[in-house]
């Protein structure tokens, strides 16, 4: 167990590699209850969410969710998050554990000018279990009457799992099909055990933070604090697709529109090591003898069996195939820029 955002979290159960491969081939169950929940409700809730987040929440139907950024006026990240539309005027924001207090204070400060859009930190009301992998649907279906096939990617439904009232969201952080289940904390242990029991035959295993990180990196999903933060803009992080360009205004709109017009100076790219070495967070990126950027995430991935990572490099250098070097403990190791995602699940 390791301390993580105020929680004691398991890094691994049976081992990162075994858990990672189980998720790619069968399914893994993650306890991600550390994630934070902040709700905004009221007649001005949509306008408020539109102001504080980059994506266009007006495009969300009730029962739909979207990936978005909580932006500063500089177009950088306070956090990244999922925005759930629970009702016309009721939104649930799922934020990173280490940012709950910061996000909540930030959101409250941004919502002062809205008459009817109170924000409430409801993190303590939800435990969150993520069942991820090709076997997830079948296993979870055996515990619920909710027709899971009908929940589309990035949509959610309410119902019961093992007799417990839950919200089931077809989302995840692994690159696999799967579900995230919001559970009342008092029943979380019951649902956890029920899923593992129901999934025993299909080979479902508990999975920890370590595999969560290697899986999300293979799937090229960003991690706040590693790949972006309050110093990097949404466009620099390569996330232009979560900007609602048609919105009138939102925090950071001016900066992001200017960056879109003139181009970013640096951008987040995928890298793959050529020499035998592993790039890690913080290692310098060197091109033509000059340090020009930094590795933000890196690991040896269990499924692809390659050393991959993400790094900020000058936009002018950011084409796939370009040779770069990563400084690994004082030595230059050859690498190249590659297109992301590194891993894309086979569609059935």
């Amino acid at each position: 167990m390791v301390p993580f955002g105020g929680w004691d979290m398991p890094v691994e159960y049976s081992g990162i590699t075994a858990e990672h491969l189980a998720v790619r081939s069968r399914a893994g169950l993650f306890d991600v209850s550390h994630m934070g929940e902040i709700e905004i409700a009221g007649s001005d809730a949509l306008a408020a969410v539109q102001q504080i987040s980059s994506n266009d929440a007006s495009r969300l139907a009730i029962g739909q969710t979207q990936y978005s950024a909580l932006t500063t006026p500089a177009g950088t990240f306070v956090d990244d998050l999922l925005v759930y539309r629970l009702a016309d005027d009721h939104f649930l924001l799922v934020v990173n554990a280490s940012n709950i207090e910061k996000d909540y204070e930030w959101i409250r400060s941004q919502l002062r000018d809205f008459d009817d859009a109170p924000a409430v930190n409801t993190s303590s009301r939800y435990a969150l279990l993520a069942l991820q992998g090709p076997a997830a649907l079948g296993v979870l279906q055996s515990l619920t009457a909710v027709p899971l096939e009908e929940i589309k990617y990035y949509w959610f439904a309410t119902g019961e799992v093992d007799g417990v009232r839950v919200t089931i969201s077809r989302t995840g952080y692994t690159g696999e099909d799967g579900f995230e289940v919001f559970v009342p904390p008092g029943q979380a242990a019951q649902v956890w055990k029920a899923i593992l029991r129901a999934g025993a035959e299909a080979g479902v295993v508990p999975a920890g933070l370590g595999a969560r990180d290697t899986l999300r990196l293979e799937a090229s999903m960003r991690l706040f604090g590693n790949d972006m933060d309050e110093t990097t803009t949404v466009l620099e992080a390569g996330l232009g697709w979560i900007v609602g360009w048609k919105k009138d205004t939102f925090n950071g709109a001016e900066v992001l529109r200017a960056q879109k017009a003139s181009g970013v100076g640096r951008t987040l790219v995928g890298i793959e090591m050529v020499d035998r070495a592993i790039a890690r967070h913080g290692y310098p990126v060197v091109i033509d003898g000059h340090t020009v950027g930094t590795v933000t995430s890196g690991t040896q991935t269990p499924f692809l069996k390659k050393a991959i990572g993400m790094a900020y490099v000058p936009a002018a250098a950011a084409e796939p195939g370009r040779q770069i070097h990563v400084e690994v403990r004082g030595r230059l190791a050859a690498a190249r820029i590659v297109a992301m995602p590194f891993y894309k699940r086979p569609r059935s």
Binding site: V11, G210, P302
Partner: protein, 123 residues
């Protein structure tokens, strides 16, 4: 668990002395702490090490760790098999030697831990 014919360091290396050379690896405790080993960076054969020198690095999915020479001596061989199969460090920690050295100061061995003392250290 910890073979009696090995000596141990507080940094979790082991050393097995045979005739005039000695094999060096990492302990079962160390591999458990690291988790799945994915990369072992080996030194050049012929390198002269002082006791306590960093002779390589070992990386798991989650961490990087340096390897320290338990004794002074010359590196006479490295275990190239670990390049393609680093997971042997996890599956057979006290068999998967990393380097073979020719110790230059026999007295270095006297300062190392025996199995019981090492076991006590890791608790």
């Amino acid at each position: 668990m910890y073979p009696a014919d090995l000596k141990y360091t507080k940094d979790h290396e082991w050393i097995r002395v045979t005739a005039d050379t000695a094999d060096v690896g990492i302990t079962d405790y160390a591999q458990q702490q690291l988790g799945d080993v994915v990369f072992v960076e080996l030194p050049q054969v012929g390198r002269i090490l002082a006791q306590g020198d960093v002779f390589g690095t070992i990386e798991s999915v989650k961490a990087v760790s340096e390897l320290f020479a338990p004794v002074a001596g010359e590196v006479v061989a490295v275990n190239d098999a670990l390049t393609s199969a680093p997971e042997q460090v996890n599956s057979d920690p006290h068999g998967a030697w990393i380097i073979r050295v020719r110790p230059s100061h026999a007295a270095d061995l006297d300062g190392l831990l025996d199995a019981a003392a090492y076991q006590q250290q890791i608790g």
